[in-house]
């Protein structure tokens, strides 16, 4: 398969699936099948990309064959491919989970097309090597996710979705302003070229000032302190499938963007920008976990924890050493799988007990011991309990922090870990153990086929978490490659700019001859 096709497959597959799902709008079953196939296809393509870049290094392709930097490029390095794979895994899991979880009304009104379009936005963001194109994918993500949040149209959903969309539009606005200013300074949008051009701007300080816009814009997307309000306001309102998908992926696209631009573009004054990021990371951890500890709704606890966990990832970026970035990447991988899984568990709990409130859920363990077991694995992993995946992520970050001498952030990270343990076990104690109320015994519902289907992706993701825990070595190596490429951005830059040369060497573009009749058509 040509590299070009392989690179655009993660966009083409969901695009085709979205259109197909629209065509079969009245056949929910067909749509479900299409969706699972689509997510599976993306996963296969992403794995294909991984093996490709393992053999041949960073992959680059130009869209429409316009030479770098005049057209749009797609660039896949280890970070991109890791993000693509993990997203696709969540896509597959949620696609299966959604089969019983998402009601037919939602399916008729386009749940699956929107789902695939959201996937396009996410994959596009991971693939693109063009700053404005990244903005476009953010827009696609924003509108698709907004529709997915409001689909169903309850007051609660609308209230959450309005905050979601308004704050995220501010993010878009700042992003776009930033893109404009960067273009004004350098005359290019290609990120590889920007990486060089931004270092040559006559006013390096000004680049850092403009970087603040990107910090805030992506900080909103990533739900950093004090920009995270939209997340706890909205994530607990849509069906579990949707919130699991969002919880796993959306903020992580923001985190990805931060990792990308604050390693590739804005490293003019790391002492300033990354110190700022480190403060943001610490405050995000603390405020998120304190928020989580006082919640009494399953998904609200989890939502605040997303915020808190984002802090750890940004801590990796902010410390800005190869090991720290590695820890950040490891954290992202671990977190996406674990967090999405916890939301999936909450959905099953809701289905069994009719509520997300911890008090109404009490005693789940007695009647659903398997669900309890499947909760324990991601929950304790999230809390960094050894030897689960979260432990490794936190261990790497802690070592990196100590090596850098950033003791305060290590202290914060460790203390927040204890609080995470507190709120995860709070869910355990309040929702899974009996609470001594009378409402428990008669609220037991039996398990239908649908619920059993929902167990499948949960068990799958839990198994994956255990795999990452036991075989932490290979995941570490993958994260190490990603971090090396991020830290030494020259590899990325050369891959893109050399692609230009090879295209130029090829002589006249074949596309001109290959597209006859266009002039006549006008």
């Amino acid at each position: 398969m040509s590299a070009h096709l392989l690179l655009i497959l993660p966009l083409i597959i969901p695009f085709v699936a979205a259109v197909a799902a629209l065509l079969f709008a009245r056949w929910p079953t067909v749509q479900k099948g299409i969706n699972i196939a689509s997510m599976g296809g993306i996963l296969a393509a992403s794995l294909g990309l991984l093996s490709r870049i393992t053999e041949q290094g960073i992959q680059v392709t130009t869209i429409g064959d316009w030479p770098v930097p005049f057209g749009i490029v797609f660039v896949v390095d280890h970070l991109s491919v890791v993000m693509l794979i993990v997203s696709a895994i969540i896509g597959v899991a949620v696609a299966v989970y959604a089969v019983p979880d998402v009601d037919d009304a939602r399916v008729r009104f386009g749940f699956y097309p929107f789902f695939n379009l959201l996937m396009i936005g996410i994959n596009g963001a991971f693939l693109t090597g063009d700053l404005f194109n990244l903005y476009v994918w953010f827009e696609v993500m924003l509108i698709s996710s907004f529709v997915l949040i409001v689909l169903g149209n309850t007051d609660e959903q609308l209230a959450g979705a309005v905050k979601y969309v308004v704050i995220n539009l501010v993010s878009s606005l700042l992003f776009l302003s930033g893109v404009g200013l960067v273009y004004g300074m350098t005359g290019t949008l290609n990120m590889a070229e920007l990486s060089l051009a931004l270092s040559e701007v006559g006013q390096p300080g000004l680049v850092t000032v403009v970087a603040m816009l990107f910090l805030i814009s992506f900080g909103i997307k990533a739900a950093l302190f004090p920009l995270f309000f939209w997340l706890p306001a909205s994530y607990h309102t849509p069906p579990a499938s949707v919130s699991a998908f969002f919880a796993g992926l959306l903020t992580k696209v923001g985190v990805y963007a931060l990792f990308r631009v604050f390693t590739l573009l804005f490293t003019q004054d790391v002492g300033y920008t990354h110190t700022l990021l480190l403060w943001g990371a610490g405050l995000t951890m603390v405020t998120g976990v304190l928020g989580a500890a006082v919640q009494n709704d399953f998904r609200r606890v989890l939502s605040f924890h997303i915020v808190s966990q984002i802090g750890y990832m940004i801590m990796g970026l902010a410390l800005y050493t190869p090991l720290a970035i590695l820890g950040g990447v490891f954290y992202i991988v671990h977190h996406i799988i674990v967090k999405a899984n916890l939301f999936l568990v909450s959905g099953v709990a809701k289905r069994l007990r009719g509520s997300f409130r911890l008090k109404s859920l009490q005693g789940l363990y007695a009647y659903h011991p398997w669900l309890a077991t499947l909760f324990i694995i991601p929950a304790f992993s999230l809390a960094g309990f050894p030897p689960l995946s979260g432990f490794w992520a936190k261990l790497i970050l802690t070592i990196a922090g100590i090596e850098t001498g950033a003791y305060w952030i290590v202290a914060v990270a460790v203390a927040v870990g204890l609080f995470t343990m507190f709120s995860m076990t709070k869910i355990w104690v309040k929702a899974f153990l009996p609470g001594g109320g009378g409402e428990m015994a008669d609220a037991v519902s039996s398990m239908g086929l649908g619920t059993r289907v929902m167990y499948v992706p949960i068990a799958g993701l839990a198994a994956l978490t255990i795999m990452i825990s036991v075989f932490a070595g290979p995941v570490y190596d993958l994260a190490e490659r990603s971090a090396d490429e991020l830290y030494n951005s020259s590899e990325y830059v050369e891959a893109v700019l050399n692609h230009e040369e090879s295209a130029a060497d090829a002589g006249p573009r074949p596309g001109v001859d290959g597209r006859p009749g266009r002039v006549h058509a006008r």
């Binding site: 529709v147 905050k163 306001a233 204890l418 104690v429």
Partner: protein, 794 residues
């Protein structure tokens, strides 16, 4: 192979247990007991080699990038502990089988118990700090599920949660301490670190390492001020308590101190902190043990006392002290496991554990009673029991320690006095005297319930009579490892008429006196007040800390996550203003003075028009007025685009402005005016944010405009639109060819928006099948939730 079997077979049994119990039925305890027995046997075959000074190890790469290996090794100390864990474990398994006979969740219980044992074995055999930490935390997890095994009861849930959080807090400190150790020595391998004592002691990390490692050890081993979790943990089924107090969990902390003794001890810091906290814990808990009437509570506080004593001995760190420590670990394990099992047997047969209500059980459970009596005599340190050997050694360590000889001796004697009295309370009260209404219906316990105590009693007697058996095989290698030296100890029952013997006599006499005065001591109000501070007081302190932190969490969440969109927006925009402003402040402002000379008159007019439109929004109260005013601003900008030669852009802007005004006016004709909900200060905030944003954005643009601008992109598009793109309009060609993917994305956005609006309109009135219909939440987060929900679309 022996090592892997010892560590991992328990985990295998843990996985298989729920399924396997169906077949083992009532014999489960005896059958499962074969596993720890087999591990004990396997490990016992290594005793000779280890005593000869060999160490056995296995190692597998786990995360090579971090130099983390899954590795184990057997030396004198680890073998000593591993044998203790599996040996006592065998008896606990048998006992648990009898104690929980026919229990609904027997399989689950043995699953947890096996995990507990295996985790402990893995912990003591670990040769890598991270491997060590993994098993250390697994013991916390196992004890969490075991203490909370009877999770139908609230105290059980609370105790389990508390134990987990307290030991996890210490565990995290321990982990950081371990990482610092690795930073200081360059390795995670324990056996290598043990040889770098001088390196660590002279390293600048020495102080944090000691404090962090001790935080881990002290929380795990229930030292002051963390000991409150251990008495609560007696909510666990008694087999768990017996195991947890004698050979596992709390001994993990002692093991940490013993394991790293060669590299961390030998400084004043170590001696005073470890010795001091140990002595304090010992003294307080010796007192507290006499304040309770529940057999398990008395046992729990005597465990804390024993842990304090062991800690103190490790703090003293002399050869005799370390030998005494090792011997007392055995002494304590034997009598503590036996007495806990006895307490459980009584509880099982009588359903009462209060020693003031029990009596005369001797006639009903003679075998149990005999075993209890022997164990208690060892506890009290009466010759010729093993406890006497231990106590003599402790007194020898105390009287030969310098400095603070007198203090150490007095503290040791006082603690042993409490032990004598407690031993009396635990045996004389329940077993002697007359049968009463409570005890007369007691049944004779199963063999499973007395087998363990009897075996342990035999050990207490046997090792008392022939303590020399331990010298070369166990005591030498284990104490030698702790001291980091080769030693040849000689244990003996009889040392002649020494100072230690005299102290023993005093101890016994005082102990008997205390026993006789027990009721008076316990009911004295002053003493009860002391108990309230030190016992339940610390427990309440834990609650206060948790509640306090939750209070902070509630407060900050209500401030941050207020549910008010306006506040969210001001915060986000305010952050933008501050960060951009601060960066400008830091780097200096790069823009120059604006030259107004170049501005043409019509540009002035358009600019002013836009500004007036923007400010107009401040003064309109009706929605139509607002939207018209905004429209004026928008048209002004569109005209500016036109004036600067961007007709396409202007065209788009005109369309959007027109449509927006038309649509909004159409929708809003039904709504009269904006309710005047904003206070003056809110308006001021909004105004400040708006002006601030305007200033920073203008600043950014002015600064960027100062830079020279080359336009290779524009040139390329101009040259290639016709040649390569075969288009006649650059803008169109950029949109549909050069950057067609962007356009595809934006079209997608429009498509999604269209479909989304359609879906929203169609489902508008349908009730949500997933909607929750619940009473309003009455819990703590209620204000937040309601705020979040009632904040509606404007």
């Amino acid at each position: 192979m022996a090592i892997l079997f010892a560590v991992f077979s328990g985990f295998v049994l843990a996985l298989a247990s729920p399924w396997l119990t169906q077949y083992t039925g009532r014999a489960t305890g005896w059958v499962y007991g074969l596993l720890p027995a087999a591990i004990t046997g396997t490990l016992a075959t290594l005793v000779g080699e280890v005593a000869a000074g060999e160490t056995l190890r296995v190692s597998y790469a786990w995360v090579p990038g971090l130099n983390v290996n899954l590795s184990f090794y057997v030396d004198g100390l680890s073998l000593f502990f591993a044998l203790l864990i599996t040996g006592i474990g065998t008896l606990i398994y048998v006992y648990a089988g009898g104690y929980l006979k026919g229990h609904h969740h027997l399989g689950r219980f043995f699953s947890y118990l096996s995990m507990f044992m295996a985790a402990m074995v893995g912990l003591v055999l670990a040769d890598n700090l991270i491997t060590f930490y993994v098993f250390f935390e697994l013991t916390s997890f196992a004890s969490f599920v075991l203490i909370g095994f009877n999770h139908d009861e609230a105290p059980s849930r609370r105790a389990a949660w508390q134990a987990l959080l307290v030991t996890k807090a210490g565990g995290l400190a321990l982990l950081v301490g371990f990482i610092l150790m690795q930073q200081a020595t360059g390795t995670f391998q324990i056996s290598a670190i043990l040889e770098s004592g001088d390196l660590i002691r002279q390293h600048s990390f020495y102080l944090p390492i000691v404090l962090l490692v001790l935080a881990g050890a002290f929380t795990k081993s229930a030292q002051f001020p963390f000991y409150f979790w251990l008495p609560n943990a007696m909510e666990a089924p008694t087999p768990v308590s017996a195991y947890l107090h004698s050979a596992t969990m709390v001994k993990a902390g002692i093991y940490v101190m013993a394991r790293f003794h060669p590299v961390l001890s030998g400084t004043d810091l170590w001696m005073w902190v470890v010795g001091g906290i140990g002595a304090l814990t010992m003294l307080l808990s010796a007192w507290l043990a006499l304040q309770y009437t529940d057999m398990k509570a008395i046992l729990a506080y005597t465990t804390i006392m024993a842990l304090g004593l062991l800690t103190m001995l490790l703090g003293l760190g002399t050869e005799v002290a370390v030998e005494a420590c090792m011997v007392f670990i055995l002494v304590h394990a034997f009598y503590k496991a036996a007495l806990f099992m006895v307490a459980g047997a009584i509880d099982h047969e009588v359903h009462v554990r209060d020693i003031t209500k029990l009596g005369g059980l001797w006639t009903r459970m003679p075998v149990t009673g005999a075993a209890a009596a022997l164990a208690a005599l060892s506890m009290a340190g009466i010759p010729p029991f093993f406890g006497f050997v231990g106590k003599e050694l402790i007194y020898e360590a105390a009287t030969h320690f310098d400095p603070a000889t007198v203090a150490v001796t007095v503290v040791s004697v006082l603690a042993n006095v409490a032990l004598v009295a407690s031993a009396g309370l635990l045996v004389v009260r329940p077993f002697f005297g007359e049968l009463n209404d409570v005890t007369k219906h007691a049944h004779r316990p199963d063999a499973g319930l007395w087998f363990g105590p009897v075996v342990l009693a035999v050990f207490s007697v046997g090792l008392g009579l022939a303590p020399g058996l331990l010298d070369a095989a166990f005591l030498g290698p284990s104490a030698g490892t702790v001291l980091g030296a080769s030693i040849a100890p000689h244990l003996a029952l009889w040392h002649g008429f020494t100072l230690e013997l005299g102290l023993s006599a005093v101890t016994v006499a005082a102990g008997v006196g205390t026993y006789l005065a027990w009721t008076a001591l316990r009911t004295n109000t002053a003493f009860q007040q002391l108990e309230r501070w030190l016992g339940t007081g610390l427990d309440h302190g834990y609650d206060n800390v948790v509640d306090g932190l939750l209070g902070v969490g509630r407060w900050q969440t209500s401030v941050l996550q207020s549910g008010v969109l306006r506040r969210y927006l001001s915060t986000v925009l305010g952050t933008t203003i501050v960060l951009v402003g601060a960066a400008f402040y830091h780097y200096g402002f790069f823009g120059g003075p604006i030259s107004v000379a170049d501005v043409r008159p019509h540009e002035w007019v358009l600019a002013i028009l836009s500004v007036v439109g923007a400010f107009g929004t401040l003064f309109f109260r009706s929605r139509i007025g607002l939207i018209t005013s905004l429209g004026v601003s928008g048209f002004g900008i569109a005209l500016l685009f036109l004036a600067f030669g961007a007709p396409d852009l202007a065209k788009t802007q005109f369309l959007i402005e027109t449509l927006t005004v038309i649509l909004v006016v159409l929708i809003l004709t039904t709504v009269s005016s904006v309710e005047g909900t904003l206070t003056a200060s809110q308006k001021a905030t909004n105004g400040a944010v708006a002006v601030g944003m305007g200033v920073v954005v203008s600043g950014l643009i002015l600064a960027v405009l100062k830079l020279p601008f080359e336009n290779p992109m524009g040139d390329y598009y101009a040259q290639n639109t016709y040649v390569e793109g075969e288009g006649h309009n650059i803008v169109n060609t950029i949109l549909v060819d050069f950057r067609a993917l962007d356009t595809l994305g934006e079209i997608t956005v429009l498509l999604v928006a269209g479909f989304g609006i359609y879906a929203l309109l169609r489902t508008g009135t349908a009730p949500d099948p997933n909607a929750e219909h619940e009473p309003p939440p009455e819990d703590a987060s209620a204000p937040i939730e309601q705020a979040e929900q009632t904040q509606q679309v404007p």
